[in-house]
């Protein structure tokens, strides 16, 4: 990461809380998706949000990254309230937050290399071409797909595409990574590989991650803390063992 970058967010290393959500409320017309959601994410921590399909998990992380505007409550990233930020300030925050889309969202018209270069060129950081090349090959090495650098996304398999999407998320060495269902739609073995990759990334770069998933393998091995999202609220919180032995049927249904 460039020097400027380090200084800009120096306080991150001092303060361990990187993301704080309080009383988040979001509705689409009469559809009250999130009613009262709270969360505190610290550096080096993996939090998994569990919830049924349509419970508002994607809406939650789109609110965090600022793709959706929330109605009430607060979201603070690196102690900055994101609700009232202008476009430039929001871009600066976004450069430090990686977002893995549920649908990967790779750019179809660009090669893998151009896909990875896109965030590097577009963010406010100015980098030399050599530095860009180095960062691209580093990110591809991290996900083990160096040989695909000149391929188009359509030529890749589903699992490979997911990895390239993760590489694109990683390339700016974010402090926070938001994963939207990283293993859904993959076979168990590939899913396992993606989970290991996520754990590896966390230990290597000491990032904080918010993972959305209903894959029990992922929940079990990647989570430090689990939050169950039910009817727009944090229904239960705890680590895997605690929640698995919870007697409440609404919690139990997730662990069967």
């Amino acid at each position: 990461m460039s020097e400027v970058n380090k200084n800009e967010y120096n306080h991150v290393s001092e303060e361990t809380t990187v993301l704080e959500i309080n009383h988040l409320y979001k509705s689409f017309g009469n559809n009250h998706v999130l009613i009262d959601f709270n969360l505190t994410l610290s550096k080096g921590q993996n939090i998994v949000v569990l919830g049924k399909s349509g419970s508002g998990k994607s809406v939650l992380i789109k609110c965090i990254i600022g793709l959706l505007k929330f109605d009430k409550g607060s979201i603070r990233i690196f102690s900055k309230e994101i609700r009232n930020l202008n476009a430039t300030a929001l871009d600066k925050i976004r450069a430090k937050v990686g977002f893995l889309f549920q649908s990967n969202a790779l750019y179809d018209s660009m090669t893998v290399r151009e896909n990875l270069e896109f965030p590097l060129r577009r963010h406010w950081i100015k980098l030399s071409q050599e530095k860009i090349n180095e960062m691209v090959s580093q990110a591809l090495t991290d996900v083990g797909l160096v040989h695909t650098i000149d391929m188009m996304p359509v030529e890749l398999s589903g699992g490979m595409r997911k990895r390239i999407a993760i590489a694109r998320t990683l390339i700016l060495k974010p402090d926070i990574i938001l994963y939207d269902e990283p293993t859904t739609g993959l076979d168990p073995i590939t899913g396992r590989e993606i989970i290991n990759l996520m754990i590896e990334i966390k230990t290597k770069y000491n990032t904080a991650s918010l993972i959305i998933s209903h894959d029990m393998n992922c929940v079990k091995s990647a989570s430090d803390l689990i939050i169950i999202l039910l009817e727009g609220k944090c229904y239960a919180t705890g680590n895997y063992q605690e929640l698995k032995s919870n007697a409440d049927p609404k919690v139990k249904q997730f662990f069967e």
Binding site: I65, G66, A105, Y107, R122
Partner: protein, 277 residues
């Protein structure tokens, strides 16, 4: 009994008519809503257009894709149009004994009206649909959102560059198409008759005046803008799913073709008012 029945039937038909007019009013409402949001979209374009950063690289790339790559199609249709128009008009010109005026008539028809409009319609078919489908699928697969979180304003990057490229490229294509059309017409004259290449061009340009060329040229800028903005609008607000992508590509072509005719109608009124005709 009978009276009752007929009264009932009457009431039924009234409710039917009522329902029909309700449907119509909903249709009308949605038409105006569409016009409204399209105008809003154009307004957004104009307000974003002047604010930096300018996506110059993307603009050049789009000019290449939108302009250069449409050239073969536009050239081919232009050539056939000139040739066919000449061959169709010839018998009538002979009947009226003005066969020698063939190049002049065809020249005026092509430069003033047929060239710009047919080129724009072909352009709407090719470029309108491809912009609509491209942006639509980018929307559906969250690529537009991905751009937004990567420090890019997708509206500037995708929409402004494409609309600008379409606006700048269509006039150029229309002029090239006019030239190729006239060449086709020259060949058409030569199939049955015999004319000298230079003499043909002299005949065409002698009958043309500045006021024939200028309005025809200027209106293609508006046609290009219409194709670009409607394609982007349809793609950008594409509904979810692959079906949505197909729909946005399709309606981009339909709406921009109609728009071309409406603008053409306006253009002819305006040039008349300005005393160009």
């Amino acid at each position: 009994m009978l009276g009752q029945e007929s009264a009932l039937r009457k009431r039924n038909s009234i409710t039917k008519i009522h329902r029909k007019s309700m449907n119509n009013s909903i249709l009308l409402k949605s038409f105006f809503a569409e016009v409204g949001s399209l105008s809003k979209f154009s307004g957004k374009f104009l307000s974003r257009f002047f604010i930096p950063p300018y996506e110059i690289n993307e603009l050049f790339k789009q000019c290449y894709v939108i302009g250069y790559k449409s050239l073969p199609l536009v050239g081919l249709t232009g050539f056939i149009m000139g040739l066919v128009l000449t061959m169709q008009l010839r018998p009538f010109m002979i009947d009226y004994g003005v066969e020698s005026q063939l190049p002049a008539i065809v020249g005026i028809a092509i430069i003033r009206e047929i060239g710009p409009v047919i080129t724009s319609l072909i352009f709407a078919g090719k470029i309108g649909s491809s912009i609509g489908a491209e942006l639509g699928s980018m929307k559906v697969t969250e690529q537009i959102d991905a751009m937004e979180v990567s420090g890019t304003n997708p509206f500037k990057y995708l929409v402004v560059s494409r609309v600008m490229a379409a606006t700048l490229m269509l006039p150029v294509l229309a002029i090239l198409s006019d030239a190729i059309s006239l060449y086709g017409s020259y060949l058409g004259v030569n199939i049955k008759g015999d004319t000298n290449f230079n003499f043909f061009w002299i005949q065409v340009f002698d009958s043309l005046e500045f006021r024939d060329v200028l309005p025809a040229f200027i209106k293609t800028y508006f046609f290009g803008f219409a194709v670009g903005i409607i394609g982007c609008y349809k793609g950008y607000y594409s509904s979810k799913g692959t079906e949505g992508v197909g729909k946005s590509a399709n309606s981009a072509v339909v709406v921009s073709s109609i728009m071309i005719f409406i603008l053409d109608l306006l253009a002819v009124q305006i040039t008349e008012l300005l005393g160009f005709n």
